[in-house]
């Protein structure tokens, strides 16, 4: 089976102005949204407490909300999580003493209408509770997840996250400069910055939560998009050496066309698994999969429409790409 019967001759580089405008518009929309709405950072970054519980039967989120507010947690946010049996309670970081104890106090409050207290239960089993009458059984309120992040941890993470992104880009810059040429390195990094900006922009525009897994996904996108870019660059380098005729634009066009079916194929298989994660991975992995989905799409686009034009603007020529012939290399071959 073939997607493309014969090697296509699409003038990709001829549309680089249009592509540039599209990218610029997307980035500006993202930047404006970041400036106006900002990112809704998860508690990994802001610090705070998150409690997820599940009930045996459907509950009213409003009654749970009243329960928690009445217990003195005025700033708590209560919402359904996935189904109407699952409740998520969020609290911002606060200056209260023993912030680490807040989650435990919330569990006590949530269990109070059922008059149950936690008993020991076998590992891997559901939580067992003592009821008011002294009998034990499965808890009506099952704790599914608790996350508490102290404010200083969140702050460090934000700092470290930004640094990680910088280090990744720097490492890539060095490696690509070494293997290819500095113009390619800058082209590759430009494409990556483009991908990161647009992915983060999408999260801001849609108001999706920016959590730690999302950050991991963005770093994975950097890896993926780079993979794509390198494959195209590799072909550009090969063609610069092989094709005696042709302007840099022609050579890049030929290279993108030659690698086009591979680009589409790999994007497709990756999208297949990313969609699987998005649909089946569960709520926790949702943000992660969304970031990957956006990133893979943008990354595929940028390796064609951003990386190559950037190299072109920096003024690449055939001479830059010819292998450096070492003096004396030929002499060794002589008898």
């Amino acid at each position: 089976m073939y997607f493309l019967k014969r090697e296509p001759r699409i003038n990709f580089l001829g549309r680089r102005r249009l592509a540039g405008i599209v990218s610029a518009v997307l980035i500006v929309i993202g930047a404006v949204s970041l400036g106006v709405r900002g990112l809704s950072f998860g508690i990994d970054f802001t610090g705070g407490t998150l409690v997820e519980v599940s009930y045996e039967e459907t509950v009213e989120a409003s009654s749970v909300r009243d329960l928690i507010k009445n217990a003195g947690f005025e700033s708590a946010l209560v919402q359904y999580f996935g189904t109407s049996k699952d409740i998520l309670v969020r609290l911002p970081a606060s200056a209260v003493e023993d912030a680490a104890q807040v989650s435990s106090r919330i569990m006590v409050v949530l269990r109070s209408p059922y008059k149950e207290t936690l008993a020991t239960s076998a590992s891997g089993d559901l939580q067992q509770c003592f009821s008011d009458s002294g009998t034990s059984g499965q808890c009506a309120v099952q704790m599914r997840r608790v996350e508490f992040v102290g404010p200083q941890v969140g702050e460090e993470l934000t700092e470290k996250g930004g640094l990680a992104m910088l280090y990744a880009l720097l490492g890539i810059l060095i490696y690509v400069s070494w293997r290819f040429e500095w113009r390619f390195a800058i082209g590759a990094v430009a494409a990556l910055v483009h991908d990161v900006l647009i992915t983060v922009g999408v999260f801001s525009v849609l108001g999706l939560e920016f959590s730690l897994p999302v950050l991991a996904a963005i770093l994975a996108v950097i890896g993926y998009s780079l993979n794509d870019t390198i494959v195209v660059f590799d072909r550009v380098r090969e063609n610069f050496r092989k094709m005696r005729r042709g302007t840099p634009i022609d050579i890049m066009n030929v290279s993108v066309n030659q690698t086009l079916s591979r680009t589409l194929l790999t994007s497709l298989t990756t999208l297949l698994v990313v969609m699987t994660l998005l649909i089946l991975g569960g709520e926790v992995i949702n943000g992660f999969a969304t970031a990957l989905l956006v990133g893979v799409l943008v990354g595929t686009y940028s390796s064609i429409f951003v990386a190559n034009p950037a190299v072109l603007i920096l003024g690449i020529s055939r001479e830059d790409m010819l292998p450096v012939t070492k003096e004396g290399a030929d002499a060794d071959a002589l008898p």
């Binding site: 680490a100 435990s104 891997g124 770093l219 994975a220 590799d234 591979r262 790999t266």
Partner: protein, 628 residues
């Protein structure tokens, strides 16, 4: 001849695949409910004890599958959770509290796998359920306490050296300030301090203050103190966790002031937090019976005595000398007083404590002895928005609060010795917690939980099943797609993909790297990305065929030309993965690990293994057409 593998290439392939299959095998068996028995506080479980335990569950009705003993302790596997719970009760009865008995899940693979150190993957807490704590040690608090101790040392050192001073006090910014009576004593004082207290450093004489000596802990002393406080805290935390009865707990230092605690399977996080984070201890002091409390409250307390408060707020005058403290306590047990029905803690002292107790109580019969409950709480200073405030070096500022309460002050009726009881506690739970903390030893410096991640068993189960389903379906979709698109070569790629999964599982199992939910996502993602190498090769082969090359030459050139592209592309992805790993806190690290492993194993399977299969089918013979 083109496209033939030599014997050594086959040897490499077999040498990787066979161990890969073997080490991934234990993952297929699942878990059995089990019990782990460990000696607490360093004591080992003897084979005699092991045999005694084994005898308890010898009958076939007890559901024992097998028990084993190694240097870490004993583990028993049972056929049902019911049998597990029953056996635990039997064990607890037999061993009392000398050992830690914990419920857990143990790998169900046959024993000989484990004897060849083939174990299933180590699941992270988000998959198996449990608590993860990150604790920060308040080093400034430890240094402050050390300086406070040095104030007393300085006073006595100067006294013995006949250097008279107007006052020795700790300044609020840190450091100890000595004001001398005579300016002429300056040199003598400095000399004495440096000779007798080598851990102190003195700053130069300030202008305009010739009578002042300013001493500070040297950096070396501070570093040593921090190191000691961290290690001591880790030991104390380990002891406390042993008391909680957790199987496979993790207590690890992270950096120079943080400790990671992981408790798999723990459900009662409230108790875990209460026990781990607290620095409660006891001190015993005599009540000052000679002076009146009320006049001390209105006026000033008599020299050598201080005012403390009972739990209900009543003031009490105590003699300012600690008889002995929590450090002298070797054992403590909570129970209920049969007469009053109130909670009590029975305490056993070490030899030094017992001697003091005997002497002091013997001399003070009829007087009262106070038991002080002392707890240090440390918390971050925050501004109005709840953001932490930073000190000059960028460290978060903390305040520590010392809570001192007199629990009880009973009249000494008899000379006491090694054992005695404390009453006056608020609740049975408090008695139990206090007893536990006294047994486990106190923390050298206050700690605070700065991060908690708890996953309940139901979510852990859901994560496992959702993760497993994502892997299977993502994998299946890619397999189908590759077969439709590349036919025979697609099958080769599929075999490679399957072995890539096997190898990843094997590597994760061998290194016992933690598999987390993002780690599973990493596996799914590598399935999608691992085919990239094969796509690159196969597209190249098609291209070469299109250029009119023979099938054999096309295969050869396809593999060779794609190689450098694959290596470049994978190394750059690996750079991103390694950065992720270094940056990583728990969940991210799991993702970085599987991504890195996947990249490396996929290079082997996608290049070497598929080439082997291609060579086997087409190599070294006349081929007219490739099924690609």
């Amino acid at each position: 001849m083109l496209n033939r593998y030599g014997w050594w290439q086959w040897l490499i392939i077999v040498g990787v695949i066979v161990p890969g299959i073997f080490f991934s095998f234990p993952n297929l068996f699942g878990d059995d409910p089990g019990i782990q028995v460990r000696g607490s506080r360093g004591t080992a479980l003897s084979s005699v004890d092991f045999d005694r335990l084994k005898a308890l569950v010898a009958e076939p009705e007890s559901g024992l599958i097998r028990g084993s003993l190694d240097e870490k302790g004993a583990s028993f596997r049972f056929s049902t959770p019911g049998a597990q719970l029953k056996a635990r009760d039997l064990f607890e009865n037999e061993l009392k509290d000398r050992y830690t008995i914990a419920l857990t899940l143990l790998p169900a693979a046959p024993a000989w796998f484990e004897s060849m150190s083939a174990r299933p993957m180590y699941l992270g807490l988000d998959l198996r359920g449990g608590v993860h704590f990150l604790m920060e040690v308040d080093m400034e608090g430890a240094i402050r306490r050390m300086e406070e101790r040095y104030v007393a040392d300085l006073r006595s050192t100067l006294r013995t050296a006949n250097v008279r001073h107007r006052g020795v006090r700790r300044t609020s910014e840190g450091g100890i300030d000595v004001t001398l009576r005579a300016v002429s004593d300056q040199d003598k004082a400095r000399e004495t301090i440096l000779r007798e207290l080598p851990d102190l450093e003195l700053t130069a004489v300030e202008e305009g203050a010739p009578d002042r000596v300013f001493a500070q802990l040297s950096q070396r002393a501070k570093d040593e103190l921090s190191e000691f406080a961290l290690e001591q805290n880790i030991t104390a935390l380990r002891n406390r966790i042993d008391e909680l009865g957790v199987a496979e707990p993790v207590v690890q230092r992270q950096g120079d002031r943080r400790i990671v605690v992981q408790l798999p399977g723990v459900q009662d996080t409230a108790r875990a937090k209460r026990i781990l984070g607290r620095t409660a201890t006891l001190e015993m002091m005599l009540v000052d019976e000679e002076h009146n409390v009320d006049s001390a409250v209105t006026g000033s307390p008599p020299p050598g005595s201080r005012i403390f408060h009972m739990r209900d707020g009543r003031p009490i005058l105590l003699k300012n000398r600690v008889m002995y403290s929590g450090e002298n306590i070797v054992d403590a047990a909570a129970s209920i007083d049969t007469q009053t029905g109130g909670p009590i803690v029975s305490i056993t002292l070490d030899a030094a404590g017992a001697r003091i107790n005997q002497r002091v109580t013997g001399k003070n019969i009829g007087k009262r002895m106070a038991v002080l409950y002392i707890e240090t709480r440390s918390k971050i200073k925050t501004d109005a928005q709840g953001r932490p405030r930073k000190g000059p070096q960028g460290r978060t500022l903390r305040t520590s609060q010392r809570i001192v309460e007199v629990i009880t002050a009973p009249v000494i009726r008899d000379q006491l010795g090694k054992r005695f009881q404390i009453e006056g506690l608020d609740s049975v739970t408090e008695g139990q917690d206090l007893a536990l903390m006294l047994r486990a030893g106190s923390l050298a410096a206050p700690v605070e939980i700065i991060e908690e991640r708890t996953v309940g068993p139901s979510l852990g189960q859901a994560n496992i099943s959702q993760g497993f389903r994502s892997v299977v379906i993502g994998f299946g979709l890619v397999l189908i797609f590759m077969f439709i698109y590349y036919r025979t070569f697609g099958l080769f790629a599929n075999v490679a993909l399957a072995f890539n999964l096997v190898l990843m599982v094997a590597v994760l199992s061998v290194f016992q790297a933690t598999l987390t939910l993002p780690g599973v996502a990493g596996i799914v993602l590598t399935v999608g990305m691992a085919v990239d190498a094969n796509v690159l090769i196969f597209e190249r082969i098609r291209e070469e065929l299109g250029n009119g090359n023979s099938p054999q030459a096309s295969i050869h050139m396809g593999y060779n030309r794609a190689l450098s592209t694959i290596v470049d592309a994978n190394i750059t992805t690996l750079i991103a993965a390694l950065v992720l790993f270094n940056f990583g806190t728990g969940p991210i690290k799991g993702f970085a690990i599987t991504l890195s492993i996947g990249i490396l194993t996929s290079m082997f399977t996608a290049i070497m293994l598929t080439r082997g299969l291609v060579n086997l089918l087409y190599g070294g013979k006349q081929v007219k057409k490739l099924a690609i």
